[in-house]
Symmetry: C2
Subunit: 446 residues, 2 copies
Amino acid sequence: MSRKLHLALHPYGVGGPGQHGLWKDPRVAKDASIDIGYYLRQAEAAEHALFDALFIVDSQFINATYPPHYLNRLEPLTLLSAVAVRTRHLGLVGTASSTYNSPFNLARRFASLDHISGGRAGWNVVTSFDTGTARNYGLDEHLDYTTRYGRALESVEVIRGLWDSYEDDAFPADPERGLFLDPDKLHALEHRGEHFKVAGPLNLSRSPQGQPVIFQAGVSEEGRDLAARVAEGIYAPGGSLAQAQEYYADIKRRTAAHGRDPEHIKIFINGGPVVAATDEAARLREREIFEEDNDLERSLALLGRSFGAYDFTGHDLDAPFPDIAHLAEKGGRTAAGKIIERARTENLTLRQVVTSASEFRRSPFVGAPATVAETIEKWFAAGTFDGINLAFRTFEELDLFVDGVVPLLQERGLFRTEYEADTLRGNLGLPVPENRHTAARRAAQG
Amino acid sequence: MSRKLHLALHPYGVGGPGQHGLWKDPRVAKDASIDIGYYLRQAEAAEHALFDALFIVDSQFINATYPPHYLNRLEPLTLLSAVAVRTRHLGLVGTASSTYNSPFNLARRFASLDHISGGRAGWNVVTSFDTGTARNYGLDEHLDYTTRYGRALESVEVIRGLWDSYEDDAFPADPERGLFLDPDKLHALEHRGEHFKVAGPLNLSRSPQGQPVIFQAGVSEEGRDLAARVAEGIYAPGGSLAQAQEYYADIKRRTAAHGRDPEHIKIFINGGPVVAATDEAARLREREIFEEDNDLERSLALLGRSFGAYDFTGHDLDAPFPDIAHLAEKGGRTAAGKIIERARTENLTLRQVVTSASEFRRSPFVGAPATVAETIEKWFAAGTFDGINLAFRTFEELDLFVDGVVPLLQERGLFRTEYEADTLRGNLGLPVPENRHTAARRAAQG
């Protein structure tokens, strides 16, 4: 098989969504989410196993009901910069909101990480939709849907423009000519758009990979369109094999429709595997974890977050899903809208909705190492993903995957046996974007 | 002497203000300002020499006339985070503008660096006064003086509030009680002020030093007042011994007037020493450097930056200083105002103004190691500073200071022979601020 599988590691410290009980595990350090040592150990293990990237998600609003890892965790870019100097090949993908960061600051910080890591930075572009986050940034309400996505697209365009401020040969640093900078190779941006006015230039040059890699997590119509326009990597939603196939084909088709090579957008699904010595032991363990982490109270709270921290506890679990369409419409919460639509169409109760939401997050990769390797190959061959974003509850589970499953993926010719490159683009098989001003100059000169 | 001298290192890569020719030195790597290896080597040397901190300054606007180090350099916090995991005792002070960053983002990023470094983070609070920077952040003009300083003060207050979101014992993580977080120890901020509305809480707990250390560089009346209110460290302007004494006494007096212990604000002057085998060799070298880096054209450009990138080249150098008071008044450029006032009072020509501005930046610490150590002691004893911010042109000059001068300072009982603590506060002799909610609870309980 010539298509190559990509693997990323997604650390969840003391426990992310659906892992509320993880911190009680004696093997989990109680301060994992704020201990850089935990992330360095994850990163070193991932690099040892030839993974493509470390993937750090983020959020900015909390209250006491949030998952343990959300309550108290490191900011993604400061975290990844520390990891950069302790690794050499691992990609470093950090999440940052295009809603509540100025493009100039984001451009600088990711370009800086890109230099520090020698060309391994990636930006996972998210928009922030909850009222709690808005209230941390001076607003009383979150921005509406169209504004958020328009702003995200324009933010990426501005930031890419800033990343091209210097052409690659802008610094001759030639003492004989007395020329440190060639001023013709420095370009201001002078962007004036609907959401942003940014003059530039950026005070930072390009790294060996030209520009950091753009990741996105498009689920809604507008999200998928944004991904197809600008993303080079996607953090995909998950679900069944058929759902993953539909998503994969749709994104590749949309990308081609925007005139882009569909090979230049890599789709990662959420893998969170459960590996054990035998299939039976793995299935038992998976059920145990699932039941422990998905008691009704927590699942209802998680479901409520899609509706702006709505409290479902007063509702009858076995009555039809409550009529809260106004909450889904407020500011365009599309995930919430989809839940309501499905509940109506399929005539579901609240219990059925909450159970199926938990099921959706269940990993398809459960079993002994051989079973997991086989399942991964089957899904990969079926056109469901280019890569998997893996999360492990403990270092023991991480080691089981690395020592047990990775060698089998390599034997099957699915996964690399050495890094292809020193940059994230190189390992993902993505092209280095030519500097736009150099390209324009070349075009003008024929 | 019981007062202890503090030393910080201030890396200038390929050359900061007044160092336009440094990049031509064959000992200076042409990519020093964007090479994390350069900063790691500086940091490791500083820690080996028991320095208190690495001090990273910043700016966000450039054009082709700017000093080489400004043109292309790493963003301070991503830089310092990488340094954090390669050092154990060195303080990490990063500059960030309170004008163009939201308090929530700044609070998170510095708190994150504080955790990654185990309590060694410091924030150098600056306000951004130039039009070029404003144009990178959506504005056509910079904010006026009062707005900038009011915003800076409120920003520090909000950020300190966010840093106290969690009390120190907020996470019992007790499996027996099933209690990861004690929700009574998590506090929203609900700040609604003139410049900011920030609800909180911050999703990050306090580090071993409680809160990052606040640095500032107050020169103007309002700047000095802001420093006296909130700063725990100051990056002082420099000048003659008498000027430094006046500044030192003024800041300590203002700090006491705000009800604070004047020992809890540490004043660092810009030291940039020139050390050589003999006094004569050092003086020659200093003059050579000074003349090389302060040709009239560059000095005029540097002076022009105080007036919003004003171009002085058309003016007669030996005529009275030009009448450009309107540029100083625009948005309250206080440094420019002071220059004009002095030129009028002392009846100075443009040449005299530009020469004296260059002289002001000249280091008082020039000579053989014994002479430099003696001069440092004399200035220190005269009440001019608590610490020195040192910048070296080459690693050879850094080594000469570390191997030649530091042991003499230690012999004189001025400088430590081992680190007092693992945190920046500990080494600077600053107290750990008690969490405000814990303090309130204690007060309420009598």
